[in-house]
């Protein structure tokens, strides 16, 4: 009896070991590229580090400067909030609209789904950002289109302080592919019987959408909202390539400002402190969204609303 017990234990240990062995590539990568840099960055946030010489300890000075003295920090927070809270709803609305559209069994719907997903794959890339800059430039496609329609505005949309942020928001909204697919999956989960019952009761399209689709989708909306908000706060590439944070910092999103402090001003310690402050900001926002969830998110399994 004892022998069998020991064998069982060894087999369990062997299973654990095998498990670790299989995830070890990922685990090593996670340690090396995520955990260790996080720890180092936390340490560096308390130093003054100009990359070319070794870090000097300065304690809480970076945090103090950022929170109480840095006006550009406050400005970039405002810009980032504006960007995130405008581009994310637009993106989600597009995603939901298209998901509903593609939830039908029409001819070629699979093809359309693929085509509409493509912008999301390429949208985050440098090449598309460069193309976007050209598109909205003073001699770009948008102005040519407007000229055809009779409006001869030779405006540089990308460098105009009032429109620059909207070119970025538009690019972000264009990448609605992943939330769209998630919405699609969510839509497929809604029991058809609910819709059938509603039709019997004489509900029209709008009522079906508002009374059945949206509430049943609310967990998915919740998930998408959180994920998209987080990535919205982390936008960088588009700002760097298309507008360079300009004109005069009108599109200076947070990570763009962080990058500038790190690599243009040679202040790595300060930039690390900025990174950790961003973590706190995003965590707080996520927490707020979670707190409001019970009021609008309906989980069928929980049975309450």
């Amino acid at each position: 009896m004892e022998m069998r017990g020991r064998l069982k234990k060894r087999k369990k240990e062997y299973n654990n070991l095998a498990g670790f062995a299989f995830i070890s590539p990922w685990l090593l990568g996670f340690l090396a590229f995520t955990i260790i840099p996080m720890i180092v960055s936390f340490y560096l946030s308390f130093t003054k580090y100009d990359i070319l010489t070794s870090p000097q300890w300065v304690g809480l000075r970076n945090y103090y400067m950022i929170l109480f003295k840095d006006t550009t920090f406050r400005h970039s927070i405002k810009v980032t909030f504006f960007f995130a809270f405008v581009s994310v709803p637009i993106r989600l609305i597009f995603a939901l609209f298209l998901a509903v559209l593609f939830n039908q069994k029409r001819k070629f719907v699979g093809l359309y789904r693929t085509i509409f997903y493509i912008p999301s794959i390429i949208g985050g890339s440098v090449a598309v950002a460069v193309m976007w800059r050209q598109l909205f430039g003073s001699s770009g496609a948008l102005n040519s289109l407007l000229a055809v329609l009779g409006l001869n505005i030779r405006m540089g949309w990308v460098r105009n302080p009032y429109t620059a942020i909207w070119t970025l928001i538009l690019l972000s909204a264009w990448q609605f592919g992943s939330p769209m697919l998630i919405f699609l999956a969510g839509l497929k989960q809604i029991p058809v019987s609910l819709y059938e019952a509603a039709v019997i009761d004489g509900a029209n399209w709008w009522q079906k959408f508002g009374r059945i689709t949206l509430p049943m989708l609310s967990p998915v909306i919740f998930f998408n909202l959180i994920m998209q908000l987080i990535s919205g706060f982390m936008m960088f590439t588009q700002s760097y390539i298309i507008t360079e944070g300009g004109p005069f910092d009108r599109t200076l999103v947070y990570i763009m400002y962080l990058f500038r402090r790190a690599f243009s001003f040679y202040e790595m310690g300060y930039a690390c402190a900025l990174a950790w402050i961003l973590l706190v900001v995003i965590a707080v926002i996520t927490l707020i969204v979670f707190k409001t969830a019970p009021h609008w998110v309906y989980y069928e399994s929980k049975g309450e609303f």
Binding site: G246, P247, F263, S264, Y266, M268
Partner: protein
């Protein structure tokens, strides 16, 4: 037993053979226009032919992003063996101990002492080779100026310049220039300050150099207001191109003078080679405007770029060989043709003068002209200059977009600069 002996023998042969064929690879990085990339790559090929056991891995970019790239590499201890540097940031890198002292190689005769400019000599240690000399210039399309019936005679003032710009717009319908009075960088304003006997950081006659700099060098905000009011005036009159058009330009090929939208552009003198090549038509250049009340010349002659060697390079000898080839070899310089500025090596200049093509000959002529109109170069600016440059760009854009007035801009600039310098 026999198997392991054969295996060991095989290993031995393998290691010996690989060391015998071991090639040294050095990385060389620079920034520039496509024209410069083509020339530099050709010289690299020539170098590899002459030194077959040295292999070069080039890394090249446009100016945009070059320094962020280097900073990232510096942080990772991964700087290239040889790379291009500039006057603005070199003191930081020297202080950081990241550049190799080349004085022993100069003493040995591996490098021509003519190519070591005094600006990179610190305590008798030499931290790079000069790739050329240049200075600021006003480039213009002679055809357009002729059409407008104007000309830029050296010694012309800002008032003359404004009148000439207005005439260009009136007679030809083209914008005279992009939205900036002289140059997109703070250099134009620094030049103006120089003409008024002061400096951005070091005050009158550079008197504050050597002590800690905690505030703006010039006391009179009116200087800021006057300079930027001139820009704003011409912009409002429609004589200068709209600011959003100007800000879209990210390289020489896209510049408004290349596309023919403007008649005049402010650039560094060596850039005429790339500019003329991109524009595909003759471009001339002359000195920037003088101030009618100036106390001294604002123009300054300086080393354009350097090549430096990283202090922790594995192959200093090979790197120095490349530096020497690049700056002192006549055949190599026949390809480079002074695109980075007038060569520092005397024998190279002599060999090149009869061969200089149109554009490069203009550079040489211009340097000769500029020497007569040049003032004294300021000592290296404090490390915060990069940040202050960014603030300056922002304030200037706000002025030109009409968001704030030049007066507000002057005050804002002073506040921001003092804040940055005193931290």
């Amino acid at each position: 037993m026999r198997k392991s002996i054969i295996f060991l023998a095989f290993l031995l042969v393998l290691t010996v053979s690989t060391t015998a064929f071991a090639e040294v690879t050095i990385r060389v990085a620079w920034w520039g226009s496509q024209d410069r990339h083509d020339r530099t790559l050709k010289v690299i090929e020539m170098f590899e032919e002459e030194y077959p056991d040295i292999n070069i891995e080039p890394e090249f970019l446009g100016f945009d992003g070059y320094w962020e790239n280097r900073a990232a590499q510096a942080a990772g201890g991964n700087l290239p063996d040889v790379w291009q540097h500039g006057y603005g940031l070199i003191s930081r890198y020297i202080e950081g101990g990241l550049l190799l002292d080349l004085s022993e190689y100069v003493a040995k005769g591996d490098l021509n002492p003519e190519v070591i400019d005094s600006s990179i000599v610190v305590d008798d240690k030499m931290f790079g080779v000069t790739l050329g000399y240049n200075t600021l210039a006003l480039m213009y399309d002679p055809a357009v100026l002729e059409e407008a019936g104007v000309s830029l005679e050296p010694g012309y003032t800002y008032e003359d310049f404004m009148e000439i710009c207005r005439k260009i717009k009136k007679e030809t319908g083209k914008y005279a220039k992009n939205s900036f009075l002289f140059n997109e960088d703070i250099d134009g304003f620094c030049s103006y300050l120089g003409q008024h006997g002061t400096d951005l950081y070091f005050g009158k006659g550079f008197e504050r150099y050597g002590s800690e700099i905690t505030e703006l060098g010039y006391d009179d905000d009116q200087l800021f207001i006057d300079y930027h009011s001139m820009e704003l005036e011409l912009l409002k009159e429609g004589v200068f191109a709209p600011i959003d058009l100007t800000l879209e330009v990210t390289n020489v090929e896209e510049d408004l003078i290349t596309t023919g939208d403007v008649a005049i552009a402010g650039y560094w003198s060596n850039q005429i080679v790339a500019l003329q090549s991109a524009a595909g038509r003759p471009i001339e250049m002359t000195i920037p405007p003088k101030d009618k009340n100036q106390v001294q010349n604002g123009l300054v002659l300086q080393p354009s770029q350097y090549f430096v060697v990283t202090s922790y390079t594995k192959y200093p000898e090979e790197a120095v060989k490349f530096l020497n080839f690049f700056t002192d070899n006549i055949e190599a310089n026949k390809v480079l043709m002074g695109e980075r500025g007038v060569p520092a090596s005397g024998k190279v200049r002599e060999a090149l003068i009869p061969l200089f093509d149109d554009a490069t000959a203009k550079t040489l002529d211009y340097i000769d002209l500029a020497v007569d109109h040049a003032g004294k170069m300021a000592p290296p600016y404090p490390g915060e200059h990069n940040q202050i440059r960014q603030e300056y760009d922002n304030i200037r854009e706000m002025i030109l977009f009409g968001v704030i007035t030049p007066e507000e801009g002057a005050r804002e600039f002073r506040t921001k600069v003092n804040e940055i310098l005193s931290n």
